[in-house]
């Protein structure tokens, strides 16, 4: 038992070490040649444009249900007119970045893990190394760059669509004035809110790409291994996003000052 526990701990420490090396090198590759611009653009299309429908839908329904729920609570205090503010603050600071990242993690961390995992188990990664090309430059860095860049813009879009979803509920069900909704939503936001809301997707993008690529590159044991890598990538990326979110939120609150 002691032996297997030691082995288990060793395995985990090794995995953390390998993950750290992979994620560091993927970032460091950006600052030296060769860079694969074509691959970056292709990944931007896959990750950014490909995720548009789910991000728009998620954002819209989240904003809408947020308006519905908060209106219910606010009405008890006679503060229904604050609906716009609440939706705006929640979407921009928290739900926009987190839900967008979770959706992209589900869609793309799994995609990366299964694609790179399949390449790993069919020796295509070894073949690439044998052909003198660094897989970390050719495969990981483009995915990392594309995810960080596109998640930033997807989050902006999600925030906006979320506010629009809230406004539809405000107008149709709560009978609020649209002008008032949008004005209060807009005016309540400070630069610190925007900063927090747009720093998070960049960090989460880093997590999604590095975790997805790490599980893919370390896949072992045929098709079953690829399946396992895919599942683990989504689970690990999602949990990491939520955990990092808590710490980053607290850190930024301290750094940027209280509301």
């Amino acid at each position: 038992m002691a032996f297997s526990l030691t082995e288990y701990a060793k395995g985990n420490v090794l995995a953390v070490q390998e993950y750290s090396i992979l994620s560091w090198r993927a970032l460091a590759n950006l600052f030296s040649q060769p860079r694969y611009l074509g691959d970056i653009l292709q990944q931007m299309d896959v990750i950014g444009v490909g995720s548009l429908p789910i991000v728009v839908l998620t954002g819209f329904f989240t904003g809408a249900v947020l308006a519905l729920q908060s209106a219910n609570s606010l009405a008890r205090f006679g503060a229904l007119s604050f609906t716009g503010q609440l939706v705006s603050m929640s979407m921009v600071r928290e739900l926009g970045p987190v839900l967008t990242s979770l959706m992209v993690a589900g869609r793309n961390a799994s995609g990366m893990a299964s694609e790179l995992g399949s390449m790993q188990v069919t020796e295509q990664i070894d073949a690439m190394r044998a052909l003198g090309t660094d897989p970390s430059r050719k495969l990981v860095t483009p995915r990392l760059t594309a995810t960080m860049f596109m998640l930033f813009f997807l989050t902006i879009l999600s925030d906006l669509v979320g506010l629009a979803g809230g406004s539809v509920i405000a107008l149709l069900l709560l009978r609020l004035d649209l002008n008032q909704y949008w004005t209060s939503a807009w005016q309540t936001l400070r630069y610190s809110d925007i900063f927090m809301g747009l720093l998070k997707p960049v960090l989460f993008g880093y997590i999604i790409a590095t975790v997805g690529c790490f599980y893919g590159m370390s896949a072992k044991g045929g098709t079953q291994g690829v399946g396992r890598a895919t599942t683990q990538a989504v689970v690990a990326a999602s949990v990491l996003i939520l955990a990092v979110d808590l710490f980053v939120t607290r850190l930024l609150m301290v750094v940027l000052g209280p509301l």
Partner: protein, 272 residues
Amino acid sequence: MSEASHNGTSKAVVFEDVSLSFDEQVILDGLSFELETGATKVLLGVAGSGKTTILKLTLGLLRPDSGRIFVLDQEVTAMRETELFQLRNRIGMVFQESALFDSLSVEDNVAFRLSEEKVSEAEIHRRVLEALRFVELEHTLKLFPSELSGGMKRRVAIARAMITNPEVLLYDSPTAGLDPVTSTTIVELLVKQRDVYKTSALLVTHRLQDAFTMATHYFNKDKNKMVEVPRGWDWDSKTSFLVLKDGKKFFEGDAGEIANSNNTYIRDYLTL
């Protein structure tokens, strides 16, 4: 890092007392051998005897636990991964399962190295066609690996490995699981590469007849095909054999020596 003239003569690959274990299992145990420039060494041994591992060690895809490996006068075992990419550009490898990039067409697979080197499009196309003509597959240019048969995949993998005229070629069971006709076609390609381009090569194979064909045939440029060496010809095939057993070198010698060996293990192996 590099030793310009290892042991005085020109060697393509040198293994010095190389050992490697995976977990508790010993794969290689103090293996030493040399491959001279322009020669072909056939690696034989039962499955799991570490033949593929030798090829991966040569490329630096794996690292030994101990011992030193020199390839083209550079010490692979002392180089970092980032330094190895330069050296790997001078080596070609044909993987057992071909390992073609399945999301790229045959043309893009074969062109992979040249595209990485930023060669012009026209030049790439010309050289890809030339390489595919060498393996007689120029009609498959636009096809994807999934549309090719096993033998065609191997030939594309050979074309991909040799497009930049590497100085060393590593073949991992290029004829495994293929019908005799396709196997002969591939062996002919290997002989052509050896005799026309004088490329040094390590060949892993289970098919002894292929290994003996390589040792007893030469490539006749006039007839553009492989021809058996006539009896009495003083001709050096530059092809030697290395038999592995329990991670160690069990036998090393040329075709005549292995065929006439009295060792029971070798005899059993040859008659299997």
